[in-house]
Amino acid sequence: MIKGLSSLYYRELRLMSRNLWATFIPLITSLLYLFLFGLGIGGMMGEEISFNGENVDYILFLAPGVIAMGIISIAQNAGWTLWNDRDRGMLEELLSCPVSRSAYIMVKILSTLTFSFVQVFLVLVIGLPILKGQFFVTNIYLILLSTLLGGVCFCSLFIPFMSRIRSSNLLVAIVTLIFLPIMLCSSMFYPLESAPYLFKIVAYLNPMTYTVDILRAGLIGSLNQEILLEILVLFIFTIALFAASVISLRKVRI
């Protein structure tokens, strides 16, 4: 057992329950995105998009992107709780307690995952059926796997920033800055096949692309060799970023 994991997780849950709005709002944001996209784009154009050589409803194509956007936003919120702990001196105190550094990070990851799964559930079981009158999912395990890897990956991504940068203004600026390419240089909103070469390179260096692709395979595609490879790559990204986050907490600037 990793030292301190359960007591820290309990603390995290208790903090969330004391702060219900902050807990609740990120969850419905994804639903809101879905409905706005659905009503806006779907209603305006009723567009279909070519995916794996078939024409699919744009909303179905987009839903995995919305889920992934939810995951990264939730991960960012978890990161901010680290910044908060540091700002309020709690991190310093916890670092002198018999809890391991990785337990502290794992708790942030666990809370990211908890919310991410709830959010996936909301989008798939409430959002899409309301919009489309039907439940879609081809491979639920691909959706769960991608949510798991994506959650760990993006939560780990924010931790080094949150544990090193002191100024909240600078941090907001930097987080906004890194959000942009992560969201846009990926397969979140459009298929990458027709994208320019350079754009593709950036997109395939971006874990978001893999997260969305695997989610999409789970919603409207299938598990093929390409997806298997993407799972492997996302797995490697996740391990590397997790390691980086543990190291960054060792060198945290109190």
């Binding site: 603390r11 208790r14 004391r18 002198s96 018999p98």
Partner: protein
């Protein structure tokens, strides 16, 4: 074996040496004070000893374990009261104490009992369900201090524990510290309150610019400054030349002061009148005179030429 042993403990922040090759030992069961002005390096020393940051050079043995090699073992032996209030801002007082107890795996029953007792002792009973954010600064401090006494670690670090507390809570904290010490706990206390250091500490290390510049019992430190009495004179006249002239007198052990004269003598009863007459003779106009015992402040002034706090 000492409870703590610092071996060339050093911390650099880019080109600033916050703690500079510090060597000292803290005996088991002792209350050890780190006394020094703002920015002296007290908090940085405590942070290294509590394994929150790692030293740039040197190391320390805390509770039998090297802070570099076995920080996990060190963490089990220690407790800390940080200088900065460290609390979950949007949680109630009770939850904060409870969370701390859980982290140390204190069984539920004992945890509850201890928390009730601490709430009572620190006058927080009525505020138990109040969110930390809404408490006054002093009450927040009380919660912070109370946390440390929920358990009884072998070594307790207190970084300016009474900062911002009212006199009554200050007293209460002192009582807790003395009781814990009687129960066998080793305590390291950093402070820039002289009275606190003097009242509580068995030995005091005076720290300035990251270096320990003196280390002894409060009594020995004070007797080291020369003389048992200090005559304070508020004088109009040329202070510098007066200081120079007085320092030549054979019954005067030392003179300091910037706006008044602090003269160290062995026995004020014997020398006060003679000294006053001499000051008048040298052209000084005495506005008032008082005699007092030396304090740690005098020790600090003697060592550094500055006062600890304004």
């Amino acid at each position: 074996m000492p409870a703590i042993e610092c071996i060339n403990l050093t911390k650099r922040f880019s080109d600033l040496i916050a703690v500079d090759h510090v060597n000292f030992e803290v005996e088991e069961g002792e209350i050890f004070g780190l006394l020094g002005p703002n920015g002296a390096g007290k908090t940085t020393t405590v942070r290294m000893l509590t394994t929150v940051i790692s030293p740039t050079e040197g190391t320390a043995i805390v509770g039998g374990f090297d802070i570099r090699k076995r920080p996990d073992k060190v963490r089990e032996k220690i407790g800390v009261v940080l200088q900065k209030v460290a609390l979950d801002w949007w949680s109630p007082v009770y939850d904060n104490l409870d969370t701390y107890g859980r982290i140390y795996n204190i069984p539920k029953k004992e945890r509850k009992r201890k928390i009730e007792w601490l709430l009572k002792e620190f006058g927080l009973e009525e505020k138990r369900n109040e969110t930390i954010e809404l408490l006054s600064g002093g009450l927040q401090r009380r919660v912070q201090v109370a946390k440390a006494f929920i358990r009884h670690p072998a070594i307790l670090f207190l970084d300016e524990p009474t900062l911002g507390l009212d006199p009554q809570s200050r007293r209460k904290t002192w009582d807790f510290i003395l009781d814990s010490s009687k129960a066998g706990q080793t305590i390291v206390l950093s402070t820039n309150y002289m009275d606190e250091a003097e009242y509580l500490c068995d030995r005091i290390g005076i720290i300035d610019h990251g270096k320990i510049i003196a280390l002894d019992t409060p009594e020995s430190l004070k007797s080291g400054i020369g003389g048992d009495d200090i005559i304070e004179m508020n004088v109009d006249g040329n202070l510098d030349s007066l200081k120079f002239e007085i320092s030549k007198l054979d019954y005067v052990n030392g003179v300091s002061g910037t706006s008044n004269l602090s003269v160290q003598v062995n026995n004020a009863d014997e020398t006060l009148i003679e000294l006053s007459q001499y000051v008048v003779k040298m052209g000084g106009r005495i506005r008032n005179v008082s005699v007092r015992k030396p304090t740690l402040e005098d020790v600090f002034i003697k060592l550094t030429g500055r006062v600890i706090r304004e």
